[in-house]
Amino acid sequence: MALPDLILDPLATPGVLAAKALIRHGSASDPEGLRGAHQLLGSVLSRGCGPYGPIQLADLVEGCGAGLRCDTHEDGLLISLKCRDVDAERLLPVIGWMLRQPHLRPDQVELEKELSLQALLRQKEDAFHLAYDGWRSLAYGSGSYAHDPLGVAEELKEISPDQLRCLAAQLEDHGSVLALSGTIPTKLLKLMESHEAFQEGGAQAITLAASTPRGTSLGTEQGTLSIREQTTEQVVLMLGQPSLAHGHPDDPGLRLLQAHLGQGMSSLLFRRLREDHGVAYDVGVHHPARAGAAPFVMHAATSTDRSKLSLQLLLESWNEMCSKPLDPDDLQLAKVKVRGQLAHASQTTGQRAERRAQLRGLGLPDDHDQRCLEIMDALDPVSIQRIAAEHLSRPLLSLCGPQASLRVLESQWEARQGEARQR
């Protein structure tokens, strides 16, 4: 095991350095019966590694006024370090230790497990989360994107430190990426090359019976509607479909649709639901960058008495994108928005390092964004419609709200499904 795949992005800053290490094992790699294992592993990595116990590590990082965290996404673990350049030589090796010599002490694993279980419980307070959870189950069935990265309480409770050791030993099976943005001290690279934290033989190759990762199947057998009753004032509606991987040749088309439908106050959903009908405050489209079939989901929250109209407006918007070419002016605006968004999303060293690590992590070229812009420039309204019709023809609906409204919306959805079948 050598240095992680290194990306350098030197930038003039007032002495700030952001480091992002991406490991290509996220919650989608959680083995059968161990949903939540990678999140738990990620959270324990900073609770003792290499020469540092949990307290010494906290003292080192916090004593430098730095930030260190590990987030678990579907496709990977992301370790983020932000510090002053003068502290980089002391702090950067910590990332190496976290990857290659995590302690995974049982008491620390138990503590993080308990915190994760409580966080899972607290998520239920959020109607948006419940609606998304329902949509995710519907869309991905028993597939690897079907659960929240935090896991499933019943399985999380049973995960042992030994099982985490097994996963830790496999963490860099598919390699890892380390991106540095900001003021990069000149000696830093030499230090990393020779530092024991980045040498091989760190994590012991434990050969516990590794569980099999779950498949990546989509949930086609679960129906098309998910309902969660809650005693809320509003109904949260999520209409969407598992779509494309970030590197798919048609994904630039979906990103243009995302910008047209949900980005900014000129977007279609904003205009239609907020400005034309005043039925919702929060509207948008969720289409994250994923290695596999990424969600493409329209969402809105609306009062019960307007929920029928809101669903109708979402459905109209969905149907239009599949059945009608975009107005050329709208398409041009969407292209400008995507281009502008790239500049907006690379303002800080942390944003820049993360995007670079993400692209490399997904196996995409460093100039992927530039290539996508060129592809987008060549797309016309008809090709966008073709992409929508091809990849977004079977939306799934998730609802969370009071029982009485859900019944009405359920009937509305069934009627729509009937019409779709007749077509």
């Binding site: 930038l11 916090e62 004593g63 006024g65 930030g67 966080a119 419980l121 307070e125 400008v336 928005k337």
Partner: protein, 396 residues
């Protein structure tokens, strides 16, 4: 910020919810929405389309003290964006048809907040501890007053507050050639200055009530312990930095006093945080612990014990240094993006005078352990707080 790729134009106005008169509750925030519905020159949606066609974005936020409207654009579009922004903010059309529709949107926003149990708990704490002060009122306002409002009452509020002496334009990021001249020639220069409404900015100080309450909240899954304290107003920068340092020592990072004791050692909370909200009429310090309901009494007792310990024993030198590093870097790290620079420097320029965004670090260095113990930790005691315990609703 010569290396920045974008320019942030941030228009600030002393027109937060604290300046609403009786019957106007919610109008400051509703006006922020209505501004985007067009001006005398711009039709509904024109502003958004034109800003986004420049590759930019726009947004706005209303607080207790002020409101700001910000645009983030590539530098070459900054002059055009400035003219659009000023037109929109200073001459909103407030058309009657758009008024009713946008009020519905605000009512949806209120409903969305009411559906979030943690927001309800925080609002209950503010309403209880700042009961006789505008900070105790939700910024979104009351449904009744919104329904009773009209374009005319909103226009009157706008005319009263959006005056030269109450406004400030903050520009951060890449500054393109010609922008300064555009600003000098803009309608900002001719903005009416006189205002009979709070001519010196603010006319009252925070009235804070200590106390204690326990509530049950529907759909709350975990218990919350919330505590609030009154603190120095934003213009007392030395005091504010001391409080920032104290809350960092108490609740930022695993080695902070409260996190280490309650989450790491006793393992009775899922999270414990402290925040300082810097406000012009008196700031607020808030503590929030989230825990299983069965631990709530122990959590409250232990928080009390840790706070008392801080007031009775000075912080050691290494711990002080750790706190200074965390607060200092927190500020340094937040100065990377033009939008966050404008967000930090804007209120300073609006309410006082522009200063180097890193100037507060000097105040930070001036704090000693003894000063912190007597002047800050002595105030952050349970006996001086409003404490709210929020529990999940009992079944049946």
């Amino acid at each position: 910020m010569p290396d920045a790729g974008l320019t942030c134009l941030d228009f600030w106005c002393r027109a937060g919810s604290a300046f609403e008169h009786k019957g106007e509750e919610g109008l400051a925030h509703f006006l922020e929405h209505m501004v985007f519905k067009g001006s005398r020159q711009l039709g509904a949606g024109d502003f958004d389309r034109r800003i986004e066609a420049l590759g930019g974005s726009s947004n706005a936020a209303t607080g207790f003290d002020d409101v700001h409207f910000h645009v983030l654009v590539p530098p070459e579009g900054a002059c055009e964006a400035l003219e659009l922004l000023l037109d929109l903010v200073l001459e909103p059309a407030l058309r009657a048809d758009a008024y009713g529709m946008e009020r519905d949107v605000v009512l949806e926003e209120i409903a969305q907040y009411r559906d979030q149990p943690d927001e309800q708990v925080v609002q209950h704490l503010l309403a209880s501890s700042c009961a006789n002060h505008p900070y105790g009122r939700p910024i979104l306002g009351w449904e009744e007053s919104l329904l009773a409002s009209s374009p005319d009452t909103m226009a009157a509020f706008h005319q009263r507050r959006y005056r030269g002496t109450n406004c400030c334009l903050m520009v951060a990021g890449a500054i393109p050639k010609g922008l300064e001249q555009t600003i000098s020639a803009s309608r900002l220069a001719s903005l009416a200055t006189q205002s009979e409404d709070h001519p010196n900015g603010i006319d009252q100080t925070l009235s804070f009530q200590r106390g204690r309450d326990t509530i049950q909240v529907e759909r709350l899954e975990a218990a919350r312990l919330l505590m609030a304290w009154p603190a120095a107003a934003a213009d007392q920068q030395h005091q504010v930095m001391g409080i920032d340092l104290a809350t960092t020592l108490l609740a930022e990072g695993r080695r902070s006093r409260l996190v280490e004791r309650l989450r790491e050692e006793l393992q009775i909370v899922e999270s414990i945080d402290m925040d300082l909200t810097t406000l012009e009429q008196g700031s607020l310090v808030m503590l929030e612990a989230c825990c299983p309901a069965e631990h709530i009494k122990e959590v409250e007792a232990e928080v009390d014990r840790v706070l008392q310990e801080c007031a009775s024993t000075p912080v050691q030198a290494a711990e002080m240094e750790r706190g200074r590093q965390l607060v200092g870097n927190g500020l340094r790290f937040s100065l990377e993006a033009p939008g966050s620079v404008a967000g930090i420097a804007g209120p300073q320029a609006l309410w006082r005078e522009p200063q180097d965004p890193l100037r507060p670090l000097q105040d930070l260095q001036n704090w000693t352990a003894a000063g912190l113990q007597s002047d800050v930790f002595g105030q952050l005691q349970a006996s001086k707080a409003f404490t709210l315990v929020a529990l999940p609703e009992e079944e049946g």
